[in-house]
């Protein structure tokens, strides 16, 4: 007791008041680096095409309203649709993949059944396989099935994430004790009820992380929707941005609009990240490699 009080007293007096200047300075340098492009986009989106290439970077232009109007009028008001598509793909995809991961992870963590090893190895292969090398064969397969150019073409591939299953598995192992399940069984609970009322609530924090990771991953995905969708009404914001600059040949390149589009496109996700960052359980990820 006495030594702890003494240690606490020492700690209190030994906390320095200055000396954090250099690290803070370094961190602020990093912060500037990370925020600079976003700030730049903020200023650039206020400029007309003419001003974009002729005025100073950190000055406000006169074209903000004009750019926004043009942006949302582009291609008969498609920009709003593209944002909606991004939301649909990300939200539905993240929800479905989280649910699937929850079930699969729980099953793998808490049950021992024939074929379990084979499934785990298969899933591990899925984790190691680059998702992007899958996109082209998926496209070829889906084209044969005739489901390219539908919402399914993107939703199906993003709804299954071996990494999500793996995270759920790790989390289930860590947070759902086998004894709890045994106790529930002895009490006469069915497996499903146990899962629903005991397992899922315990898994919930980990599931939020999986959901958030998937949401951002799908939102930022470019190659899959680019390959799968050729109808303008189905593409998400990432593909739309690329196309604004790559219509080909004799079409004008719409830099001003693209920059304004970039601004509008990153606002939702940045807000998302900011608001929800305290719900991240990323220790889940670093703990997964034990």
């Amino acid at each position: 007791m006495r030594s702890r009080t003494r240690t606490n007293a020492l700690l209190r007096t030994s906390r320095p008041r200055k000396g954090g200047i250099i690290p803070t300075f370094l961190l602020l340098g990093a912060v500037v680096y990370f925020i600079l492009p976003i700030v730049w986009v903020l200023f650039a989106s206020t400029k007309t095409t003419g001003e974009l290439f002729t005025t100073d970077s950190f000055s406000f232009g006169t074209g903000f309203v004009e750019n926004i109007v043009a942006l949302f009028a582009y291609e008969n008001g498609s920009f709003g649709l593209w944002l909606a598509n991004s939301f649909i793909y990300a939200l539905v995809g993240a929800l479905v993949s989280t649910l699937l991961s929850a079930g699969a992870g729980y099953a793998l963590a808490l049950y021992d059944f024939p074929g379990k090893k084979a499934i785990m190895i298969g899933l591990l292969g899925g984790v190691l396989l680059p998702t992007i090398t899958l996109a082209i064969p998926q496209y070829m397969l889906f084209a044969q099935l005739g489901i390219t150019n539908t919402y399914w073409a993107v939703l199906i591939p993003v709804s299954i994430t071996p990494f999500g299953i793996y995270l759920a598995y790790v989390y289930a192992r860590a947070s759902v004790p086998g004894e709890l399940l045994e106790a529930a069984r002895v009490d006469g609970s069915t497996e499903f009820r146990t899962f629903r009322s005991i397992g899922l609530p315990l898994l919930f924090p980990g599931l939020v992380t999986i959901f958030l990771l998937q949401f951002i991953g799908i939102w930022n995905n470019f190659l899959l929707p680019y390959i799968m969708q050729s109808k303008s009404e189905l593409v998400p914001i990432t593909v739309a941005m690329y196309l604004m600059l790559n219509r080909g040949g004799s079409e004008p390149i719409l830099y001003s609009m693209a920059i304004t589009g970039a601004l509008v496109a990153i606002i939702p996700v940045i807000a998302f990240v900011l608001v929800l960052q305290r719900f991240w359980r990323l220790d889940l990820i670093s703990g997964s490699l034990k």
């Binding site: 002729t54 044969q144 390219t148 919402y151 009322s197 969708q229």
Partner: protein
């Protein structure tokens, strides 16, 4: 938690049902072919303002309704069309750049338009018909054309007493003079994206890259005519007489906007994009014919331009041909295209009196110059793997400009790639 799960599941189920409804209707490409009813045609096209023309047609033709959609695939559209067609969900008609046509033809997905050959041939110059003819069969109706013109900053030229160059020798001399001006100016910019420019310039010099005889293809990219053109531009790049920004990159646009790049060789469609990128330069540009090797024998090539094709899978080919003919070949169609600022492939449209482009509001000679350029177009013989050649040149040219590949390796490499691909 339970309530949330149930709500969540219900929400997903509802969403899934809605989406399958959407995709069911969205996937309904092609038409519904009711006997005696309305024929619905699917048209995949990206050209700006074509939808206005489609509206005009739809209003006048209630029995043949066209739905136009802009495919989200930019320069890679052909393969997306092909995949859709192979999966049975392709459109009835599509827009295709001239350089993309061989890809469609080799894939065997286009309907030929021989049934209307006479009417079509009547409306276009022979060289223009050549661009849509393969194996002596017509596979598309040309829409717009981009005969090459030299577009230059008239204000700078006047201020320094320059005249637009008539030959390539004069061009080079002018480029040297421009370099002596204040402000690090260049006469022109070249980049790897100008592979089609190289193609065109070689054509201008008499090159014939593909030749079909005795049932076999012969590839002649590595020939004297093309080499001469390449040598010329190698000289321009190595002597720092041209800038080498990537075409239409921010660097390039900044340099042009600040007046550092004085000219470009573009198709007749240039004023629209130029106005869009450089709105402050209205009235400062002028156009002239491109430089020639031999001023007495002018030859012009096309940069850009597109045609419309009918897919073999379409269940309403006759109606599709009817629509496309009206859109691109008929006098009324040509006039409509002119109204939306296209330089038409149809001869009638080229000969119309039209207002000067918005970029050069006082220049009444612009469109006549374009027509004159079009009258000197050289014949083009495309090979079946034009796209392969295209990407090969883009890559090799880019590497040569960057200095990572020797210039004299460019043509042999491209030749090998293209002929190997054909030999497969």
């Amino acid at each position: 938690m339970r309530k949330n799960t149930r709500l969540g599941v219900a929400a997903i189920a509802a969403l899934a049902l809605t989406l399958s409804a959407c995709s069911a209707s969205g996937g309904d490409d092609g038409d519904t072919g009711e006997a005696g009813g309305v024929v619905n045609l699917d048209f995949w096209a990206w050209g700006s303002n074509i939808d206005k023309r489609v509206d005009v047609w739809n209003a006048a033709n209630p029995d043949i309704q066209v739905e136009i959609s802009a495919p989200a695939s930019g320069v890679d559209m052909p393969v997306q069309v092909l995949s859709a067609v192979r999966a049975g969900s392709g459109p009835d008609m599509a827009q295709s750049e001239f350089t993309q046509l061989p890809t469609y033809v080799s894939a065997g997905v286009l309907a030929d338009l021989e049934s209307d050959r006479d009417e079509i041939v009547d409306k276009f110059a022979p060289e223009v018909i050549d661009t849509v003819t393969f194996d002596d069969t017509i596979f598309g109706i040309p829409q717009d054309l981009g005969p090459a013109l030299l577009i230059y900053r008239d204000d700078t030229f006047e201020a320094n007493g320059y005249e637009p160059p008539a030959t390539w020798d004069e061009f080079r001399a002018l480029a040297e003079q421009v370099r002596t001006l204040d402000g690090d100016k260049y006469l022109l910019n070249v980049s790897s994206l100008d592979a089609d420019l190289l193609m065109g310039l070689s054509l201008q010099n008499g090159a014939k890259w593909w030749d079909y005889s005795d049932g076999d293809w012969e590839v002649n990219i590595d020939d004297d005519a093309t080499q001469e053109v390449l040598d010329y531009w190698q000289g321009m790049v190595e002597d720092d007489l041209v800038s080498t920004y990537q075409t239409n990159s921010p660097e390039h646009i900044e340099a042009t906007a600040s007046g550092r790049i004085l000219a470009n060789i573009s198709g007749a469609w240039a004023p629209g994009p130029l106005l869009n990128s450089y709105p402050d330069t209205v009235g400062l540009w002028a156009a002239s014919q491109i430089p020639q090797w031999d001023a007495s024998d002018p030859k012009v090539f096309a940069r850009g331009g597109s045609a419309n094709v009918v897919l073999e899978n379409s269940e309403h080919k006759a109606e599709a041909i009817k629509f496309l003919y009206w859109l691109n070949a008929s006098d009324e169609g040509a006039e409509g295209l002119v109204e939306v600022n296209k330089f038409t492939a149809a001869t009638h449209g080229q000969n119309l009196d039209r207002a000067a482009p918005a970029l050069m509001p006082d220049d009444d000679t612009y469109w006549p110059s374009a027509t004159e350029a079009a009258s000197h177009l050289v014949n083009v013989q495309w090979g079946p793997n034009t796209q392969v050649a295209f990407t090969a040149i883009t890559d090799e040219l880019g590497d040569a400009i960057e200095g990572t590949v020797a210039w004299d390796k460019v043509l042999p490499t491209v030749q090998k790639v293209v002929s190997d691909d054909l030999a497969k």
